[in-house]
Amino acid sequence: MSDAQTIQRAGPPAPEAVEEAWSRVQLARHPQRPRTLDLIGVIFEGFFELHGDRTFGDDAAIVGGPATLDGVPVMVIGHQKGTDTESNILRNFGSPHPEGFRKAQRLMRLADKLGMPIVTFLDTAGAFPGPAAEERGQAEAIASSIKLMTGLQVPIVVVVLGEGGSGGALALGVGDVVLALENAVYSVISPEGCASILWRSRDEARTAAAAMRMTAADQVDLGVVDAIVAEPGEGAHTDHTATGKALRAAIISAMRRLSGRETAELLATRYARLRGLGAYLETGAASPARPEVPSLRRRIGRILHLPGVPRRPRWSEIWPSNDTDDDNERGA
């Protein structure tokens, strides 16, 4: 590990860390928090919403269309939560079905065709997990959206507005610059989901939130987010316009920095950014971690198989199955 000072020794999250993380989660989910469409009106001019995936339907949980940013045409795409019960039902609480991601892909391809920069807004608890979404390929839709974004020949600026919820967020979240509002959160699974799997209790969501280090500041520390945009007053919900203006300046700044790049450089840098995310130790060991098989039974079995003759073991002898599988530790 070359950067050892950033590694923390594991321990249960401290109470103040839990408090901090959970207050951010609450702000990120605040019912008056500005939504994508609220901010589009402040940040851009002339937004023209386009609809439909040209395959199955139009998903109101994702909105998108062209607009201008300081006079320059860009494609804007984002998750859209509702602001009350009725609009939340319409928007499915901001949790897209596959057709939402496929609409986004269509708009991204159009931006790519016309050489328009893309701005995306992330604000979802996650892709909708219902059976209809499964039937229509929720996983495929997210995967192909990620794939498309990694190869688009136009600059992409991503803004985490509120909840950056897992794959459903990342499906709009591959970019050249990733910004986050100060109280936004970003996580691999909802704190409730994480708590119910690892702590076996949804009541431990606060603890899980802290353990996953999901605040915007944590995300900068992890390299997932490039910069934080400060929120006004007590949070973005207190002043949508000021929030939008701050975002506008940040997005323009990011675009300005990207605008000098040639396409090949843009793509190589985006690729390198993704390739660089993660933490691992390169030990240089060339052999498996466990050089000998553990069980006498198996060792005897091997000897019996070719008695007395040294031979290269089969891989299944080096890494045999256990006969029970432990599902407890699977992730989300």
Partner: protein, 333 residues
């Protein structure tokens, strides 16, 4: 080919009034003309002639028709109860058009476009060789001049009297769209009542943006065929513009009074890609691509930025593996 002008087929009274198919109101034709052919009672969108559509959409006197001389030919020697040639001539007389599409260049709020417009009165707006050829030339001109293409459709589909030659117009009108994609030239489809069959199954479904007029009938198969096939009634609103919007195939349903301004807005928001070096095949890095667009972007954004936000995308922090992005970039090459 001589054009005959027979007497009007209708007597004066029926010529002066039209019954609205939506609300049954009797509408004075003069009023329809003044009102963009919208029913004054219920807003029903009556079909428009190509001339009325041009007046609706284009800047005054900006339209220059192209290829006005193309005329259909009865290649099959097609004859049902009368020869194809007779049907053609009747439509020519009725409409003053040579075939079901007029195309040319013009401007919409000052923005130059290549535009093709169907007239449903000419053999039901059916697409035969002339329609296909005109639309292909419209798209090719958009490509050559790097101006957006717009087609306003109103068609029953492919023209049966031209057999598979009509069917092949689906491919002829679609093939140029691949080139528009490669060149970064936008194409906007406007679907009006009705847009069905082979026209919907080709270019009309492939607009970068697809607008439709309210309540327009839009569908692949005739509703009767669909109903016969499955032996059930079609759902309410089946094959309307609104149905297609719900099902993801139309970007917006735009009432006629807003159509011109919507097109103008889209033309401003979806500009032809920036640079053209004239390459025909897909270039390694598209010359019209972000480079050109973004050098303009850099100028635009140059002075207007808060520097207080410390984004340094050229030097993000080294990740846990101690490799800098620059090193990654080297490796990626």
């Amino acid at each position: 080919m001589p054009i005959k002008f027979p007497f009007s087929r209708r007597a004066a009274p029926s010529d002066a009034w039209t019954k609205c198919p939506s609300c049954d109101a009797q509408v004075f034709n003069k009023q329809l003309e003044r009102n963009q052919r919208l029913c004054p009672s219920c807003g029903h969108h009556f079909r428009m002639s190509v001339g009325e559509r041009l007046d609706l959409l284009l800047d005054r006197e900006s339209f220059e028709e192209r290829d006005a001389g193309l005329e259909a030919v009865d290649r099959l020697g097609f004859h049902d109860d009368r020869p194809y040639d007779d049907r053609l001539e009747a439509s020519r007389v009725k409409t003053g058009l040579r075939d079901a599409v007029v195309w040319g260049t013009g401007t919409i709020e000052g923005q130059r476009v290549a535009i093709g417009i169907f007239d449903f009165r000419f053999m039901g707006g059916s697409m035969g060789s002339v329609v296909g050829e005109k639309l292909a030339r419209c798209f090719e001109t958009a490509l050559a001049e790097r101006i957006p293409a717009i087609v306003v459709s109103a068609s029953g589909g492919a023209r049966m009297q031209e057999g598979t030659l009509a069917l092949m117009q689906l491919a002829k009108t679609t093939a140029p769209l691949v080139r528009l994609d490669d060149a970064g030239v936008p194409f906007i489809a406007v679907l009006t009542d009705p847009t069905t069959g082979g026209v919907l199954a080709s270019f009309a479904s492939l607009g970068d943006v697809i607008l439709a007029e309210p309540k327009a009938l839009i569908g692949f198969a005739g509703a009767r065929v669909a109903s016969d096939t499955v032996g059930e009634e079609m759902p309410e609103g089946f094959q309307t513009a609104e149905f297609l919007l719900t099902h993801g195939f139309v970007d917006a349903v735009v009432p006629r009074p807003e159509l011109r301004s919507s097109l103008a807005r889209l033309l401003r928001l979806l500009p032809v890609a920036a640079v053209d070096d004239g390459a025909q095949t897909t270039p390694p890095e598209r010359p019209w691509g972000p480079i050109g667009a973004l050098s303009g972007l850099a100028e635009r954004f140059g002075g207007a930025v808060s520097e207080t936000i410390g984004i340094d995308v050229d030097q993000p922090p080294a990740d846990g593996n101690g490799r800098t992005p620059a090193a990654e970039r080297e490796e990626a090459r």
